[in-house]
């Protein structure tokens, strides 16, 4: 890895070293990509529970008398319906209706948190400063607030064994509580397609809570998991990743995220363009592909229908759950129907690919396919 450049370190850096993690550069941070095997870690999350350090994520505090109205204007979702103790997955869009970032908005009694992608934190802060109005304060708390994600069917029980009962916490609700002797904010959110929790806490408390969770969850099969597993888990759950499914060139409609857009409510940045797009229809859709063979189609791989190139892959990897290569791809509307047979170009060869319904993986008892998760 590139150690020559000074990478940012999360407060769990020493913990990762002690666990023998393999560290990689991610958005300017030294992050654990895996501790043992990415596939093993992936399956641990599906079967039991995994613990992720995602302290690189950006946390931005928005406060002031005008905060609610301002955030309603900046996001396409109906944030006015958000009550204290609730979080929502939404977007910050350009005036063209394209993505500056996707994010979670947490509503507290007197302020909000915006949880944004590490790679976009500076761009988001710049955008917020540019849009700032009187009566609103914006503060970057990314270096004060650490974040660990406890994900998997065993997550609730592990917290209960540590005297934190979250059994009545609804999806996307959060609560301020105590865990392993530290103050934490716990939300029932995640980026894996499993039940689970994201635990926000002070930078200096992170190591104590991390170690406390690993110790307390050991009997339940809890294992530390890296960004490698996080990526394959989110891909199986068909959750978007900035720089892949979404960026400044695409709108929510072309990214299976139209459900985050409320065109009937109050005005918001990008609404005019999205309204027009809805009227005339949009040309491309995000679809799921299962590939024949074992070659992986990665971002940028061309998708063909016969001789015609009809789109390209946005994310592709090996699915540890399905034991085959899968991919998300953006293709023209007329080739997007489930069951369709397409081909993907992988290193000068064509691989057969079948259009499948998303998500690729759905946990038992999951209610809504459209249920979003935290950002990347």
């Amino acid at each position: 890895m590139a150690t020559a450049r000074a990478l940012e370190r999360t407060p769990l850096h020493e913990c990762h070293a002690a666990l023998g993690a393999r560290l990689v550069e991610f958005a300017g941070w030294a992050m654990p990509v895996q501790y043992s095997s990415g596939i093993e870690e992936h399956l641990v999350v599906r079967r039991a529970a995994g613990l992720f350090d995602v302290s690189h994520m950006g946390e931005i505090v928005v406060s002031g008398a005008g905060a609610s109205a301002w955030l309603e204007w900046l996001t396409p979702s109906r944030l006015s319906s958000l009550r204290p103790g609730e979080a929502r997955y939404t977007a910050l869009l350009t005036t063209d209706g394209t993505y500056i970032d996707d994010l979670l908005v947490y509503r507290f009694e007197h302020h909000y948190w915006l949880v944004v992608n590490a790679a976009n934190t500076q761009a988001v802060l710049a955008w917020l400063q540019q849009q700032l109005v009187a009566g609103v304060e914006v503060r970057d708390a990314s270096r004060e607030i650490a974040l660990v994600a406890l994900q998997g069917p065993g997550a609730e029980e592990i917290l209960r064994s540590l005297q934190l009962d979250v059994s009545r916490l609804a999806p996307f609700a959060f609560v301020e509580a105590e865990l392993c002797g530290s103050d934490v904010t716990v939300s029932r959110t995640g980026y894996t397609g499993e039940d689970g929790f994201e635990i926000y806490l002070a930078w200096e408390s992170a190591a104590r809570v991390w170690n406390g969770l690993l110790d307390g969850g050991a009997n339940a099969g809890l294992a530390p998991c890296g960004l490698g597993a996080r990526d394959t888990l989110r891909l199986e759950a068909a959750l978007a990743l900035y720089g892949h499914e979404i960026d400044r060139s695409v709108t929510p409609f072309e990214s299976r995220l139209g459900w985050t857009v409320d065109l009937k409510g109050a005005d918001f940045v990008g609404r005019e363009v999205l309204l027009a797009l809805r009227e005339r229809g949009f040309g491309s859709r995000l679809i799921g592909l299962e590939l024949g063979g074992r070659r992986i189609a990665r971002q940028g791989a061309p998708v063909f229908a016969g001789d015609a190139e009809v789109g390209s892959v946005t994310s592709g990897s090996w699915s540890p759950s399905l034991e085959k290569p899968i991919a998300l791809a953006r293709v023209s509307h007329r080739h997007s129907a489930a069951g369709g047979a397409l081909e993907v170009g992988v290193r000068n060869r064509r691989e057969a690919a079948r259009v499948v319904r998303l998500p690729f993986y759905k946990r038992r008892g999951e209610e809504a396919a459209s249920e979003g998760g935290a950002t990347a």
């Binding site: 990415g38 596939i39 490698g228 394959t232 074992r294 070659r295 990665r298 090996w318 540890p320 290193r347």
Partner: protein, 136 residues
């Protein structure tokens, strides 16, 4: 941590070569080729190994196949020239052997070497360990 056998040779592309003396006096020696422990760790979980056909001939440094892992795809370059006499067909069903035992069951193929002098341009174990030490 990694154990690099002292009598093997190593390439800058992170392949190892173990020379197996042939039985016939007039026969060329055979090189067993695999990727190093360092390389498998860099790649992460291997899910697919593409190997050449039996009987194909290659020159040193030719690309002879690919190794696909969850996170990346890597090319396999042969460190020596020769003809493919055996491939590790067990990798078709168990590509994870490359991760689990890169210097053993995870071997890739055997080449009948056409120029044993090429071994001289490869690194010995100590030099290779120093080489990967500088990449870490």
């Amino acid at each position: 941590m990694a154990n690099y056998p002292a009598d093997w040779r190593y390439s800058e592309e992170h392949e190892w070569v173990q020379v197996v003396a042939s039985e016939g006096a007039d026969e060329q020696d055979v090189a067993v080729i695999g990727i190093t422990d360092f390389a498998q760790a860099e790649l992460g979980d291997v899910v697919f190994v593409e190997l050449p056909e039996l009987g194909e001939s290659f020159s040193a440094n030719d690309e002879i196949g690919t190794i696909e892992s969850v996170k990346a795809v890597g090319e396999i370059y042969t460190p020596v020239s020769g003809e493919v006499v055996e491939i590790n067909s067990s990798l078709e069903d168990k590509p994870e052997q490359v991760n689990e035992d890169p210097h053993g069951d995870g071997w890739l193929l055997r080449l009948k070497m056409s120029d044993a002098d090429e071994l001289g341009s490869l690194m010995e174990a100590a030099a290779y360990e120093e080489f990967v030490g500088s990449e870490e």
